[in-house]
């Protein structure tokens, strides 16, 4: 949906977004408490394995990354982009699944999601600044981040992971 450059892209037209003020609901709008955010999970056992119970999504899927998570951990807002598009945007050879996190689930972890529109990315880019990559962490800081990662992995597993149709179970292949 086209929008003026300063206001960035507009939300998808849905009942949810109408309630929230569409057509004046842009990427720059602060995230709502009951909004859902997506994160792609490459279809490899390193990120997802069905027989791992409440941690089928590995905590490493929410580990801050030196290149991707400089300003904060990246997510996409469901109000602006479909999970199918997030899955397709991942370039992994075996495709990707998509994890869902509710914004309200971030609060107990002392995390907050903020809009971060980026024309180079899919619409609805958001970041969680507290989960940005940091160098030279103390043991305590690193463990706090790992605890948050494993809790996010639990939420992602509990909320259900989107799998594109006919996506095979993750298999480790030689790249």
């Amino acid at each position: 949906m086209a929008a003026s450059a300063n206001r960035s892209r507009r939300a998808r037209l849905r009942i949810r977004t109408l309630v929230r003020g569409w057509p004046w609901y842009y990427e720059t709008t602060a995230l709502f408490r009951h909004e859902v955010i997506f994160r792609a999970i490459p279809n490899t056992p390193d990120y997802f394995q069905l027989d791992m119970g409440a941690w089928a999504v590995t905590p490493l899927a929410f580990k801050p990354h030196a290149k991707r998570d400089i300003d904060g951990m990246s997510f996409f807002r469901e109000d602006f982009v479909r999970c199918q598009a997030v899955a397709e945007a991942n370039k992994h050879a075996q495709k990707a699944r998509v994890a869902r996190i509710e914004v309200a689930q971030l609060k107990p972890l002392e995390l907050e999601a903020k809009p971060d529109p980026d024309v180079a990315e899919l619409p609805g880019h958001a970041i969680v600044p507290e989960m940005k990559y940091r160098k030279n962490l103390s043991d305590e800081q690193r463990q706090k981040t790992k605890d948050r990662s494993q809790k996010l992995a639990q939420f992602a597993t509990r909320n259900g992971v989107y799998s594109p149709p006919h996506l095979p179970d993750p298999v480790r292949t030689v790249e």
Partner: protein, 195 residues
Amino acid sequence: MEEGALKTMLPNQTTWARPAIIEPLKGFDFDRAASAPPTISAIVWTKAQPLQENGSPQQQNLVGIAASKRWNEREKDLAKMRSFEADWDGFAAEAPNLCLIDKAEFFLRVLRGRYPDNPPMRAVLSADGCVAFEWANDEKFVQAEIIDPKRVEWMFAMPGQDAQFSIEFLEVQSQEQAWQPAPTAVDEPAYAFAR
């Protein structure tokens, strides 16, 4: 831990079972584990009574074969990780740190000696090139991550609770140490004579 692994012990024998984190997924004392890092020297061996039921030699063999298969799978996982290149996840991941994979292979052998019936359920490579081993079910999660060439960080988590951590130090022989012949004993008079 494989279901009923302790039950597979031969009847009427006194055996010594490995406690501590041999059973991290069922009844594992997380508080105790966090306060006492699972180093080799910290393991306390306890006396276990053999159980009669489900302890037939056939079942014992099956458990052993299943565990052995999973250990081999983890070794293969690590071997495959070596061939990964940068951006292996399509998400700008770094190439694996081969030094850490070496340490992970060493640590896997340590784990196999320590908990032969409890192979990791998965070996994972993170986007920053670190390697970790994980065990999990619906109630508990254990992760051992090689955070640098000398340290393994254990994480024990349960739903609704903060994770607990402990660090284990890896003391691995270098290649030189491993291949160098053991120093021969030199008795003092002979050494003096040589001078």
